[in-house]
């Protein structure tokens, strides 16, 4: 297909260039604060991409993904504190548990049509948060309630997911982001991706074409939950501290959903774009306005969402996609009569 040549070239070249920039970037940053912000951006890009796998592709809205993040963070941290298990291993156990939780939440909801999934995810995340907020210990394991847990400091111990400085964390989360994007890209082009988009388009019609909607929705939820929990473990290690409010609060869920929606759900690059725009915006508004007007950054988030929905309902990625689509269309359309 000659028609796809230039488009494919651009599709490969642009992300490759972006990845190269991200790979060499830490070498040019002297200020730890900027590196910290950058890790935050990559973290949110990763989390929004994980959210996107179920919400973007199937059109089901989850506002409870923070709970999955919290499950990942708490389980890897608790295993480290109580059993001395390296978070490198604990994060996979957390991810498996989160997958189970995600499937349990999705299972009854995906049989129904309507807003039940969104409502149930909120309820699930809030119940979990409030429970941990008020639980000092369970079965002799300290949860320390709202105080949260600190990850014991071991110095520079790569085998225990602890590093000197922020650069190693930067590369870990960058690798995770590339991983989640690769999974999304692969999924989008596979049978599963087509089926998920069909379910989003019209569930009845999808089922008529042999799509077992319950099974595919649950598969997407399981994959998304697994990846989200891995992110939660990273978060715990990076900050060396977790608490219910920050790790499984509704704010985090809403932020992930916002990044996905504003950036462009159901695309590989959309949520990443959303995170790269909204995370620094949030950081700046918090830093400059947070002292005087606490909560104002949330108001600004709300306004951004309204504007995005009004003018770019398919997300900020839409103009870029149109540009990419036009390139081959123009070369193909040069033969017929176009003025």
């Amino acid at each position: 297909m000659t028609q796809q040549g230039p488009r494919n070239g651009l599709l490969i070249a642009a992300p490759a260039a972006a990845l190269f920039v991200l790979l060499v970037l830490p070498g040019f940053i002297r200020d730890e604060y900027y590196l910290h912000v950058l890790v935050g951006i990559l973290f949110f890009a990763y989390m929004a991409s994980a959210w996107n796998i179920v919400c973007g592709y199937t059109g089901q809205l989850s506002l409870g993904h923070s709970a999955l993040c919290g499950i990942g963070g708490y389980i890897s941290t608790l295993l480290f504190i109580n059993a001395g298990l390296s978070p490198w291993i604990g994060m996979w156990i957390g991810a498996v548990c989160a997958t189970g939780a995600g499937v349990l939440v999705g299972w009854p909801c995906f049989r129904l049509r309507g807003p039940y999934f969104a409502l149930t995810t909120i309820a699930f995340a809030e119940i979990l948060r409030i429970w941990i907020d008020n639980t000092e210990e369970i079965f002799g394991i300290e949860l320390r309630g709202a105080q949260g847990l600190s990850v014991p400091l071991k110095g520079h111990a790569p085998a225990l997911f602890q590093f000197d400085g922020k650069v190693p964390y930067y590369y870990v989360i960058l690798a995770m982001l590339v991983g989640v994007m690769a999974v999304t890209w692969w999924m989008e082009r596979s049978r599963m991706g087509f089926y998920l988009k069909a379910i989003r388009g019209d569930q009845d019609a999808a089922e008529a074409l042999g799509v077992n909607s319950t099974r595919y929705l649950l598969s997407a939820m399981a994959l998304s939950s697994f990846l989200t929990a891995l992110g939660g473990s990273f978060y715990a290690q990076f900050f060396r501290y977790i608490n219910p409010e920050r790790n499984m609060g509704l704010d985090l869920s809403i932020e992930l959903a916002l990044m996905g929606i504003v950036g462009g759900q159901g695309t590989v690059l959309g949520p990443v774009l959303g995170a790269f725009l909204l995370t620094p915006a949030g950081e700046i508004t918090r830093a400059t306005l947070g002292g005087k007007f606490p909560g104002l950054h949330l108001v600004i988030y709300g306004l951004v969402l309204i504007v995005a929905m009004l003018f770019l309902p398919k997300g900020l990625i839409q103009p870029f996609r149109r540009l990419l689509r036009r390139a081959p269309a123009r070369s193909g359309a040069s033969k017929p009569t176009t003025t």
Binding site: K197, D202, E207, A208, G210, K314
Partner: protein
């Protein structure tokens, strides 16, 4: 053995008896026309055969197996496909991608699904629309897309729910031609249709539903002269024509 055998199926919604004791059989390679006034229970019958809801009573036997009560996707995997009266395109996908969803039914690989989709688009005659987003299609092209999606699943039994509705006479003739060619490939068809010229021109047999019950079944010409049918549905105008 008939390909599909519907035995005494009934369905009521609250106090409304939508279908009452419906029985019929379809032979392989046949086109059966299903007609009746609005609300006669035609689409309800389709929904029961295709697994959108189970019949209250009775059996639906496809190749001898009772499929009543199975889920829609399971029935689709037994090679029964349906279109919807109100087209349900996957709006933000292109026509090609829409049909590829059906194409993935038998082929796991993207290239194979795409190959199947392109073949079906050419068969239905909408290849030039392949890259158009389904949202931007006309009503008639949406019907063609529905049909193409179904064919991509390689059905043995095809349930067509008013695929000609909304078409101009020329478009209707083109659609009839497509349906004939589908039958020629060996696919058995049950079609619900209001456009009499189409039903009478295509069907080997016609079944007339009225208030959820069969009032006539048989040769199109005989059915169209049946006084009970004329009274219930076709009206004096068709009788005179």
């Amino acid at each position: 053995m008939p390909l599909l055998e519907v035995k005494d199926i009934s369905k009521s919604f609250g106090g409304l008896q939508a279908v009452r004791g419906l029985s019929f059989a379809v032979e392989p390679g046949e086109i059966l026309g299903l007609i009746g006034p609005n609300g006669a229970g035609k689409t309800t019958a389709f929904n029961m055969i295709a697994g959108y809801f189970p019949p209250d009573t009775g059996e639906v036997r496809f190749k001898g197996e009772n499929i009543a009560g199975l889920r829609a996707w399971d029935i689709s995997h037994r090679k029964v496909a349906r279109t919807f009266q109100l087209s349900k395109p996957f709006g933000d996908l292109t026509v090609l991608e829409n049909v590829m969803v059906g194409g993935f039914h038998h082929q796991g690989s993207r290239a194979a699904a795409r190959g199947k989709a392109e073949e079906v688009l050419a068969f239905v005659g909408i290849s030039p629309l392949a890259m158009v987003e389904a949202n931007n299609l006309t009503v008639v092209d949406r019907k063609r897309l529905e049909l193409a999606r179904c064919l991509a699943t390689e059905p043995e039994l095809l349930l067509l729910d008013e695929v000609v509705a909304g078409a101009t006479p020329t478009e209707a003739v083109a659609m009839m031609e497509v349906i004939r060619r589908i039958r020629d490939t060996g696919v058995t068809i049950i079609m619900v249709e209001h456009v009499m010229r189409v039903v009478m021109g295509l069907s080997h047999r016609v079944l007339v539903l009225h208030h959820g019950e069969t009032i006539a079944i048989g040769d199109p010409q005989a059915v169209s002269r049946d006084p009970v049918v004329l009274k219930a549905y076709l009206g004096a105008r068709y009788g005179n024509a």
